[in-house]
């Protein structure tokens, strides 16, 4: 790792994500449960005599992620026991991977082109959830044993903004691979150091959520600039928005790692690795670049479309049949808008590529106006129908009959004297208003370009 001599800030991340399996990492309890302590068994409760058995799917997901991040996969992996005492630990040791990670030496490239190296990724089990009461803690073991994947970067991030971008890209890849619950929370331990204080490293443990991670980083950088800095571990208090020193006694414990003797070692055949590789879709960054290069669409549109796997897939299906630039624009501005309004992901609506191909084709050959297009897409998100048939049945084709439109223009002009006066005195907005009024009379079907021309002629 080369140090950029001009670096002011050094940030490294240890990100914990929960893998999207139905059962826990080492036992068959559900990973999702309602009532506290309702998805528990002797294994995740740490009952004496219970033993772990590794979840195959969790291992596959971990391998998938390692490969997607360009890591070298360890050919033989082992699990380790990390021993420390805390009320959220069902065995007072965590089964994790210390000696040999699942994968190492991967990377994520930021938009600026900077490459952030990923030191290692590994699997480990989640501890239980603590609810802090006044005094004693309440413990819920539903979370105990949930499958986590830890991703560790080199301390190469230059700023909280870069850290945020890195997190975004990481989460995007995770969603693409479909190994991560979109709703589930990301946690991270972050380490921060600044040049002014000789890069003395401070670790902030257990920051929950994107926003908090960025907030904590901003705060800590400022704090380090304005205070004495010593090498220590700090916690993040989201309510007060500050980091605080954690009693060093608690963090001094030696973890005393040993190889987990209740688990075997695991090896990966080349055929298995190849199979998993096949399941990895083209990732968002390179996909967006391809769209710009091959389809000549706008860079921002490309990134936004490539961000979501289902959106990107529907885009590619449609772009085979309809002009990609138009497709991209309509997906980005209209489809995403209505999905947002409905608060539903694409796969929870009746929309398929077929409907959108029809709709975008109508727009492409100018058979309908944009306004009508918008109305149709708003309806498509709620019910399944053929846009082509709908337009025919409802008579929604674009109205380009000059005589018909002229009549509407005259009506609008005579009914809106104020707007006419405004336009004549140079207010551009007034024309837009008048066009809108005519469009309303045509129920959105009027050709706006033609309407504008007719109005301008009329008002001369």
């Amino acid at each position: 790792m080369r140090m950029n001599k001009n670096r002011e800030i050094m940030i490294g991340l240890e990100v914990h994500v929960q893998l999207n399996t139905v059962s826990k990492l080492f036992c068959a309890c559900a990973t999702k449960a309602g009532e506290p302590n309702s998805a528990v068994c002797p294994v995740c409760l740490g009952h004496p005599g219970s033993k772990p058995v590794l979840n195959k799917k969790a291992l596959e997901f971990g391998v998938k992620l390692a490969l997607a991040l360009g890591c070298e996969l360890s050919r033989k992996i082992l699990f380790s026991r990390k021993t420390y005492f805390y009320p959220d630990m069902s065995k007072n040791y965590q089964i994790t991977q210390y000696e040999i990670p699942l994968g190492s030496n991967g990377h994520i490239t930021l938009d600026s082109g900077r490459v952030i190296n990923i030191k290692r990724i590994h699997l480990e089990e989640d501890p239980a959830a603590l609810v802090h009461e006044q005094g004693n803690v309440l413990v819920d073991y539903n979370r105990s044993g949930n499958p986590l994947c830890e991703i560790v970067t080199n301390p190469e991030l230059d700023s909280p903004e870069e850290a945020r971008e890195f997190m975004n890209k990481l989460v995007n890849i995770l969603s693409y691979l479909q190994i991560f619950e979109n709703d589930s929370i990301i946690k991270a331990d972050v380490n921060v150091s600044i040049k002014e204080k000789n890069f003395i490293r401070v670790e902030i443990k257990n920051v929950t959520g994107f926003k908090e991670i960025e907030r904590a980083l901003y705060y800590e950088v400022e704090r380090q600039k304005s205070q004495d800095v010593m090498q220590e571990t700090r916690g993040w208090n989201p309510d007060e928005g500050i980091t605080y020193s954690m009693r060093s006694k608690e963090t001094e414990d030696d973890y005393g790692y040993i190889i987990e003797p209740d688990l075997p070692f695991f090896t990966f055949e080349q055929s298995f690795i190849d199979e998993v590789k096949k399941q990895i879709p083209e990732l968002p960054q390179s996909r967006a670049q391809r769209y710009v290069r091959d389809y000549k669409i706008d860079d921002t549109d490309a990134k936004i479309i490539a961000y979501d796997l289902s959106i990107t897939q529907i885009f590619e299906s449609i772009a085979k049949k309809v002009n990609p630039v138009l497709t991209a624009r309509w997906i980005r501005r209209e489809l995403l808008r209505v999905l947002n309004l409905e608060n539903k992901p694409l796969n929870e609506t009746p929309i398929t590529a077929d409907e959108l191909i029809e709709l975008f084709a109508l727009l492409e050959n100018k058979s309908i106006t944009n306004r009508i297009g918008q109305q149709i897409i708003e309806k498509l998100v709620k019910e399944k129908f053929s846009p082509k048939e709908y337009v025919e049945q409802q008579g929604l084709g674009k109205v380009s009959d000059e005589s018909e439109l002229s009549i509407y223009c005259e009506e609008v002009i005579s009914n809106n004297p104020q707007a006419v006066a405004d336009f004549k005195s140079g207010v551009e907005k007034a024309l837009k208003f008048l066009i809108g009024q005519v469009m309303a009379k045509t129920k959105g079907k009027g050709d706006p370009v033609l309407i504008k021309k007719l109005l301008e002629e009329e008002l001369k």
Partner: protein
């Protein structure tokens, strides 16, 4: 009466299962009041007997129909206090049966109770008992040790007048050691042969569940029931031991005599008896060859103890007064609370091993102790593998001494205690099946003959042992 004969009689209808169970429970409790072999009795024993009785009458009873079985306290029996001999688990009644216990129940055995042991298996004389527990007394001489850590299991196996089998456990020799001291057969199978699910861990890469009985055939019968793959234990083997008919012959068998096991440091009377036994095999047509295991004898003890203590110190971390077992009033910060519960409820040897095990895996010491011991283990395993190229079975004394008195034991340092394992740590480290059987009397006691087989070759061991028994 042998257990095999007992089962036959039960199925033929000539033995009343319930009456037998009643008598056995009474006798066990009487013995216990004198000898301290049981930490707990299963109060459902008679209810179990009644269910088995019904099945016997229907002709559908299993391979262990009506057989009385004792279970070492570290092996979980659902609803019965299972403490592994430690105060830290006093009152703990597991919500599940260990896999081995489940298998016994499926064959209609009757579980009567949990046998005494050194706390968590930490000992070779069963004197390292947990706070509040009693030391089991040798069935042949009450002033002497039963051996350990499965002292109670060996004691009751010798003392019971009713047909009985013991489920026991070995980490460094805890099955064959007490078997030798109490004059019974102890069979410790290959690592992974019997599921460890439900075994309260001492050291996970060393723990093995095995059996004790008055004969090799009976010990083998129980092993054939409790062995087999268990999906709940990732280290359990797919290799199931099938029950078998003995050939009653050792003709053509090659027996390797372990040179270092017959040297100074082993009581000469024991050397004599074991050598006699080996000569008997030669008379019966077996060949003998001398085998040397220098690495095992020089480095076996430290290798075993380092690995065992490292693993044990992590296994015992879970005992902290939360969720189950011994606890205190919840006051103070969490570290204070944990320390209070642990300090109060662990015995001296348990504390010593936790300290040593924690130390040996601490940063800075880990490479020299934990990793080095794991490498030493590889060399020891290789040494045994080489030995098995020359012979089918290895023979040696089980213990270097006769059962000592409690007074003699009290004068030993902890290290001297550990050294008594010198003859048994080898097969335990290497996960090799081994058994001990009595072979020649010395006063009230018998010398223990230890036979060691290659991985998964329990049948060979039982063949040889059984052949010896057929005098």
């Amino acid at each position: 009466m042998s257990v095999i004969k007992f089962v036959k009689s039960v199925k033929e209808g000539s033995i009343d299962v319930v009456k037998n169970a009643e008598k056995a429970v009474l006798e066990s409790k009487k013995i216990n009041s004198e000898y301290n072999y049981f930490n707990a009795f299963d109060e459902t024993a008679l209810a179990q007997a009644m269910i088995v009785d019904k099945k016997v009458r229907k002709g559908i009873a299993g391979k262990l129909a009506g057989v009385i079985i004792s279970v070492k306290d570290c092996i979980c029996v659902k609803g019965v206090e299972s403490t592994a001999g430690s105060a830290v688990l006093k009152g703990y009644r597991p919500l599940f049966d260990a896999a081995a216990v489940e298998k016994c129940r499926a064959e209609d055995a009757i579980i009567i109770g949990k046998t005494a042991q050194d706390e968590f298996g930490f000992g070779g004389f069963n004197v390292n008992i947990g706070n509040g527990f009693k030391i089991p007394l040798n069935p042949l001489d009450k002033s002497r040790s039963c051996g350990g850590s499965s002292g109670g299991a060996a004691g009751i196996t010798q003392k019971a007048s009713f047909p009985h089998l013991a489920i026991a456990e070995s980490t460094g020799g805890s099955i064959v050691n007490p078997a030798a001291f109490c004059g019974v057969v102890g069979l410790c199978p290959t690592y992974g042969r019997v599921s460890r699910y439900g075994l309260i861990d001492y050291a996970n890469s060393l723990d093995k569940i095995g059996t004790m009985a008055k004969s090799c055939a009976d010990a083998g019968l129980l092993l054939s029931v409790i062995s087999g793959h268990d999906e709940k234990d990732s280290t359990s083997s797919n290799n199931k031991l099938q029950y078998f008919e003995f050939k009653n012959s050792v003709k053509g068998m090659k027996i390797g005599i372990v040179k270092e096991a017959f040297g100074e440091g082993v009581d000469s009377r024991i050397v004599d008896r074991v050598s006699d036994a080996i000569r008997k095999f030669e008379d019966k047509g077996a060949e003998t060859v001398s085998v040397s295991l220098p690495t095992t004898f020089k480095y076996g003890i430290p290798t075993y103890y380092i690995l065992a203590m490292c693993e044990a110190s992590t296994n015992l971390a879970k005992y902290c007064g939360m969720r189950y077992g011994a606890h205190s009033e919840l006051k103070g910060m969490f570290n204070q609370y944990f320390s209070a519960v642990r300090t109060k409820n662990f015995g001296a040897e348990a504390k010593r091993r936790i300290l040593l095990g924690t130390f040996a895996r601490m940063a800075g010491y880990r490479d020299a102790y934990y990793i080095k011991a794991a490498q030493a283990r590889t060399r020891i395993i290789e040494e045994y593998k080489q030995a098995f190229k020359q012979c089918d079975v290895l023979a040696a004394p089980t213990m270097p001494i006769l059962p000592p008195t409690f007074e003699e034991i009290s004068k030993l340092t902890p290290l001297q205690n550990y050294m008594a394992d010198i003859l048994t740590v080898g097969p335990n480290l290497a996960g090799l099946p081994h058994l001990s059987l009595p072979c020649g009397k010395i006063n009230d006691f018998s010398a223990g003959l230890q036979l060691i087989g290659n991985h998964f070759e329990e049948l060979e061991l039982l063949e040889v042992g059984n052949a010896y028994e057929q005098k």
